[in-house]
Amino acid sequence: MTINEIQDELIEDFAFYQDWMEKYEYIIQLGKEVPLISDAHKTDEYIIKGCQSKVWLFAELEGDKIKFTADSDAIITKGLVSLMVKVLSGHTPEEITNADLYFIDQIGLKEHLSPTRANGLLSMVKQMKLYAIALKAKG
């Protein structure tokens, strides 16, 4: 699936939930599905700054595609990073750097994109795109 197809599917999934608590139940569920970062990479070097909770994110190339792994000590944050991994993992660096992540707004998480929000969704997006740029240069 393309990045946009995954985004559209998530938008559809979220439309199913009526209230915020249900949406967060789903986000928490998604957190449990995140491909976990290995212990070797769960270090300060891979922490994303700007979150009230800790978020670790690692990226590597598998063939020409980037695979992301992540974790967080807060489970809602883990759900948010899981969402991002779901959308961006398994795509080429080119596709990731060019991605327009419209789904965040559409599923009602736009407020989380503000630079002043404590969960750092914006920092996650930035970091993932930075990884893509770095790995593109490497590849």
Partner: protein, 407 residues
């Protein structure tokens, strides 16, 4: 002094009628800032609609009435904290600026290399960092009063921290992160027995406790308007006249001068020496209305009501499975900090927000406190006079729901 009628009080705060995420707002983040009664909001509007003019300068009518109103605040503050003199009340931007004025204007001239400043383990960053900056500049040292697992300061250890190099003591009246009320009268006496002046951070005390600076014999006191139902951008530095008089001005500019020539400037008298430039006139004037509001209810009546609410909320919370209170001092004021086993405070904060409940999560600008308890942060409820037991009940149900989701 009036009687405390919670329904009447709530009617005075228009924001309490709004909803958040489709739910009635429950605001438990009063330690960060309190809401404003309509008496204060109306005064702000009235200032701009009817009075707006610069203070302390003009001979014209508007300037005179705004100056009178601004100076009325100074007298109200003086009466509110029972200061001896009106000119001992310096109007600042807030507690942080007040602390920085002391660190700069008292610290720089009177504290030197190898001198010592005593603070406590439960200070807000604004009562740590200004002193650290002074220490970096002057080579003085910070000594820290230790705190036990209940969040109470070790007074015996405090006594032993004094040396002949101790030049200043600065601590908080009420901890913003733990709610501990410190035994400030005793602590001030201990410092004065050694002829050391004391700074009291009253940012979390002024809205809850009766403060009498002469009775406490405190040398400096700082607090903010916005945490006592007043406007943002105004605060107070109280200082004893003899100390303020021997301190140099904080900033140079208008209002703080007597005469300026290119050769020499002579400074204005107290309090204007420390009030360079145009102040936040509107906030300064309207702080008086917040003080009136508190005075009309009576600070003792407010305290009695808030203490009842604190006890109720603490009791209800204690039945939450896995809860651990951070800060269990015998004397507490309006703050409950807690963590729930295995759950990040941030997760609880997000879900409560979606249920219309405002709490603060994180380190509360008191990272050393969090480090001592070995936690990244807490969920903090900070109560105000307009909160109710019904709100606590709704909060408890919401917290139980959040905990079920997050376990």
């Amino acid at each position: 002094m009036g009687t405390f009628d919670i329904h009447k009080v709530r009617e005075d705060f228009p924001i309490l009628n709004r909803t958040v995420n489709g739910k009635p707002l429950i605001y438990f983040d009063n330690g960060a800032t309190t809401h404003k009664p309509k008496q204060v909001i109306d005064a702000i509007v009235n200032y701009y609609a009817d009075m707006n003019s610069n203070v302390h300068r003009g001979v014209h009518y508007l300037s005179q009435i705004s100056t009178d109103a601004f100076e009325l605040t100074r007298r109200k503050v003086q009466a509110f904290i029972h200061a001896k003199n009106e000119h001992e009340i310096i109007i600042t931007k807030g507690t942080t600026e007040a602390m920085n004025i002391i660190a700069t204007c008292y610290g720089r001239p009177f504290i030197g290399a190898d001198d010592e400043i005593i603070i406590s383990a439960m200070e807000h960053h604004s009562n740590i960092v200004p002193w650290q900056m002074l220490c970096d500049e002057k080579g003085c040292k910070l000594r820290v009063i230790p705190m036990d697992e209940k969040g109470e300061l070790d007074i015996e250890a405090y006594r032993l921290l004094f040396s002949d190099r101790t030049k200043l003591v600065s601590f908080t009246y009420v901890s913003n992160a733990l709610g501990t009320i410190n035994p400030v009268r005793e602590m001030i006496q201990i410092a004065h027995e050694r002829q050391v002046p004391v700074v009291l951070d009253a940012a979390q005390a002024i809205q809850h406790l009766k403060i009498d600076v002469q009775e406490l014999d405190v040398d400096f006191l700082a607090f903010s308007g916005h945490k006592m139902y007043g406007p943002t951008g105004v605060g107070v530095l109280y200082g004893k006249e003899e100390l303020l008089n021997k301190m140099p001005p904080y900033q140079g500019g208008g209002d703080m001068i007597k005469d300026v020539t290119f050769e020499k400037t002579t400074y204005n008298e107290l309090p204007f020496k420390f009030e360079a430039g145009t102040p936040n006139i509107e906030a300064g004037i309207c702080l008086a209305h917040a003080i009136d509001y508190i005075d009309n209810l009576g600070i003792e009546a407010i305290k009695t009501y808030e203490d009842g609410l604190l006890a109720y909320a603490t009791d209800r919370l204690s039945h939450i499975e896995g809860i651990r209170f951070i800060g269990t001092a015998a004397h507490k004021s309006s703050v409950i900090s807690f963590v729930v086993d295995g759950i990040h405070p941030y997760d609880i904060g997000v879900l409560l927000d979606k249920l219309g409940i405002a709490v603060r999560t994180g380190h509360h600008c008191a990272q050393p406190v969090m480090n001592q308890f070995g936690i990244p942060g807490t969920v903090r409820l900070s109560l105000a006079m307009y909160n109710t037991k019904e709100e606590v009940d709704i909060f408890i149900a919401a917290l139980e729901r959040a905990v079920r989701m997050l376990k």
